[in-house]
């Protein structure tokens, strides 16, 4: 709970700093503050307790994901300085919205009560609607915000309906109580309808097929930094929260449910990868790649008792690679108004370091060894194999092969084509964030034991 208060307080502080004319210190101070928060979470690790009538539960799952989410936000704030350099007057708004968004994220991974969960998801979503539409004069950004808002609100409604039905069936919002009732088998029949509705709402939030149609348009239209945030921070949060709910509600899964999860996972991977092959816009391509990664992460849902660590590892690998990739994309596409593949031509000659970083990030997403993405896939595949889902693993393997096709399209463009774009400056923060994100990814790859250290 302290963590939540600290982050929200930091957001308010940022707004106050703007009023007292200390605009310059906003980003450094908020980054510093988040490091403090990170320290706070680490200090409390290992203790299990609940606060405010079980509203917030402190456990290893929550702390591990909190650490990941706060670290991702630090990296994203690092990029803000460069990204908003033409919008200095609004920097406090952007930074504080991101901090509030983070508080929503933390609530979503540490909740112990559905009320808290819904609060978290609304804080997250509303902040995202605002950020998606934050380029006020850009038509596409407005369209993205509007689209995301309409569809997102609809999904939230379905989610809320699901929560209500579960309340009706069990008489409680408290996750522990609900789990106990579900396991005893005394719940009313319509509990299952509630679970399905929650699943639909969450599948929308993580952009898994067939609820993925918003993602490409919204990713493409939103400002690049918001896209980075959606595809890393928001996606990781949603999938972690979904996993938490799923492991609480799914007890003794019937075959039909298993088939549906397997089907959705396969569909997401395949649709995401095949559509990505055809894209010429890099943000759109990464949106589809994100859909396929959501499918991969859904593999963890088949084995909720032991899969938390694999899911965390996959999410961390995907998110760090994503941030490294987006740092480069933000640099290449700044002031261009679009993110076509052609913009990346010749990056290997003009900015070799950035090109290498993007290459490594894409290698990680494709699951090529020594990068964390490989071990993440290895763990998930291993788990599914042990669970007996051999067909799913084979589809996943085939998808990994397909994904090489579009990741390498970008790599080839960077290294072989001649540069036709003027790229000036070597902004320090972009380089710093990209390097740090990539090093984190490599460190995860070389020490996959990290999940054990975090108690997962």
């Amino acid at each position: 709970m302290n963590v939540l208060i600290a982050i929200a307080g930091l957001g308010v502080l940022v707004l106050v700093l703007e009023i007292i004319n200390l605009r310059k210190v906003i980003i450094p101070l908020s980054i510093l503050g988040l490091f403090g928060v990170l320290g706070m979470i680490c200090c409390q690790m290992g203790k299990t307790e609940d606060t405010f009538n079980n509203m917030i539960v402190k456990d290893s799952f929550g702390s591990a994901f909190s650490i990941l989410l706060v670290s991702l936000t630090i990296l994203l704030l690092g990029l803000s300085h460069e990204f908003y350099r033409n919008h200095r007057t609004k920097i406090s708004d952007f930074v504080s919205i991101k901090l509030f968004l983070l508080s929503g994220c933390i609530a979503m991974v540490t909740f112990g009560n559905f009320a808290m969960f819904f609060l978290g998801i609304e804080i997250l979503s509303i902040a995202l609607y605002v950020l998606a539409a934050s380029e006020r004069l850009n038509l596409r950004s407005n369209e993205a915000g509007m689209k995301y808002f309409l569809l997102g609100a609809f999904a939230s409604g379905i989610l809320l309906f699901g929560i209500t039905l579960i309340y009706g069936a069990t008489g409680s919002f408290d996750l522990e109580t609900i789990t106990a009732i579900v396991q005893s088998g005394e719940a009313e029949e319509w509990l299952n309808i509630g679970v399905v509705m929650i699943a639909i709402g969450m599948l929308f939030k993580i952009a898994a097929a067939p609820f993925h149609f918003w993602a490409p348009d919204v990713y493409e239209g939103s400002p690049a930094l918001t896209t980075a945030l959606m595809s890393t921070l928001a996606k990781v949060t949603a999938i972690a929260a979904f996993f938490k709910i799923w492991s609480a509600l799914s007890y003794d899964l019937p075959l039909v449910t298993i088939c549906i999860i397997v089907g959705v996972a396969m569909l997401s991977m395949t649709i995401g990868n095949i559509m990505a092959l055809k894209q010429a816009n890099v943000k759109r391509m990464l949106a589809f790649s994100g859909i396929s990664h959501a499918g991969f992460m859904l593999m963890a849902f088949l084995n909720t008792e032991t899969a938390a660590s694999s899911l965390f590892y996959y999410a961390a690998a995907y998110a760090t690679a994503g941030i490294a990739a987006f740092a480069v994309i933000i640099y290449v596409a700044r002031d261009k108004g679009h993110e076509d593949l052609a913009l990346f031509n010749g990056l290997g000659k003009t900015h070799p370091l950035l090109a290498v970083i993007l290459t490594c990030a894409l290698f990680s997403m494709a699951g090529i060894p020594v990068f964390a993405g490989f071990f993440a896939k290895l763990m998930l595949f291993n788990q599914s194999f042990t669970g007996g889902y051999i067909a799913l693993v084979i589809v996943a393997v085939v998808n990994s092969i397909i994904s090489v096709g579009y990741y390498f399209k970008l790599i080839i463009a960077m290294f072989t084509n001649e540069s036709n774009e003027e790229r000036t400056g070597k902004p320090f923060m972009i380089y710093a964030v990209a390097v740090v994100a990539l090093l984190l990814n490599l460190a995860l790859g070389l020490y996959p034991n990290i999940t054990g250290c975090l108690g997962l």
Binding site: L378, F381, N382, F385, V393, G452
Partner: protein, 475 residues
Amino acid sequence: MDAIYILGILLVGAMLTYTVGDKWASKVALLFSLVAFGFTVCLGHCLTEERNLIWSWIESPSIHFALKIDGLAVAMLLLTTALIPLIIYSTFGKQVKNAKAFFALILLMAFAMSGTFLAADGILYYIFWELSLIPIYFIALLWGNGDLEERKKAVIKFFIYTFAGSLFMLAAFIYLYSKAGSLLIADLYALDLTGEEQCWIFAAFFLAYAIKIPLIPFHTWQANVYQKAPTVGTMLLSGIMLKMGLYSVIRWQLPIAPDASKEWMPFLLYLGIAGVIYGSIVAIRQKDLKKLLAYSSLAHVGLIAAGVYSLTFDGIQGAVLQMLAHGLVVVGLFFAAEVIHRRFETRKIDEMGGIRQQAPKFTSLFMILVLASVGLPLTFNFVGEFTVLYSLSQIDIIYAVLGGLTIILGAYYMLKMFQNVMLGETNAKPFADITMHEGVLLGIIAGAIFFFGLHAKCITDFITPSIQNILTHIN
């Protein structure tokens, strides 16, 4: 001297090469590769019995950093570290653009390939196996020749092909892990799998290796990539990288799925021999020198694969000898093609000719390489080829007869190529005789071919215990 130092030297060498800048890169790379070679020779010299180095790396899933050092692994390591200095040396006297990245990638590739030969844990092995793909991908893409668009297509095809194959191998490893609870090679050897399981495992491994080696019908990437890649890339691919596939068959595929390999043996022998005949016939028709060498390589590798899959001691030993010999000769031949290309600026065979009068030294060395490639007695290749054919005749004489075509057809297309390239009317274009660099390189290779041809015993003694060890697991 531990094998881990060799890996360390190559990796540190790659980093240092990149940092010293374009001017010194080639020299630093050569130095490090020579040091690695020296270490490998020491390692081979001190090797008395097989050793295993095992460190725990990841607890869950249990993955170890495990190396297995035995005669077979060291022989392959020796091939790698001996060829890498030669390959680096072959670029001397030629301007390479962005040299620091180029030489760093070569050393990185050497690191990954050495790791593949040494690794004794499934996942570690897989990591090295995949890692070796990245440098060669960039070397072929960025420093290759010919039209860029075509090159892109050829290289991405190569990458996706090999990556696809290895992912099925990964799936097989994951399955084995769920059975054995560990991927250490000793545990995998000890695993008792049912016939059906073995078939699946065997098939998954086979996809990865058949693409890498390459065996018919998985060879379609090969000729194009060999032609489009720079000579250094072609040497790395044909000299060392395809040996990774053959080595892995001996080390991983056969002992883990012995029953399946026995069941599939006749089919695999025919597949290997089909490669011999197909490669030879296509080679006869080639007009491009590099493509001709690529198809001749396909034919030789087919025979080596047949030797490996014969599952007899002689077959495997002959195959290993032939791997080493083929590595030496093919690097020499591709370098000779490069020497001609430097002077004539062409790879078309019918634009060549009449080199003999102008460059007698080069002609003699080239002749030695051609004869070695054909498998003439006294050369290293003869020893390997003869042993493989002998083992095939032990199984069934028909295999030996068909496999023996490699010598006849090989002699036909190689000598015809020699005739068209080297002999004939004096070419209008001038051809300067080889420089010191080129002479040293070809001389070393020719010397090694004769030395081991006369004195193959030192290699056979070296690899015999480890092959016998593997055979006990197969039977």
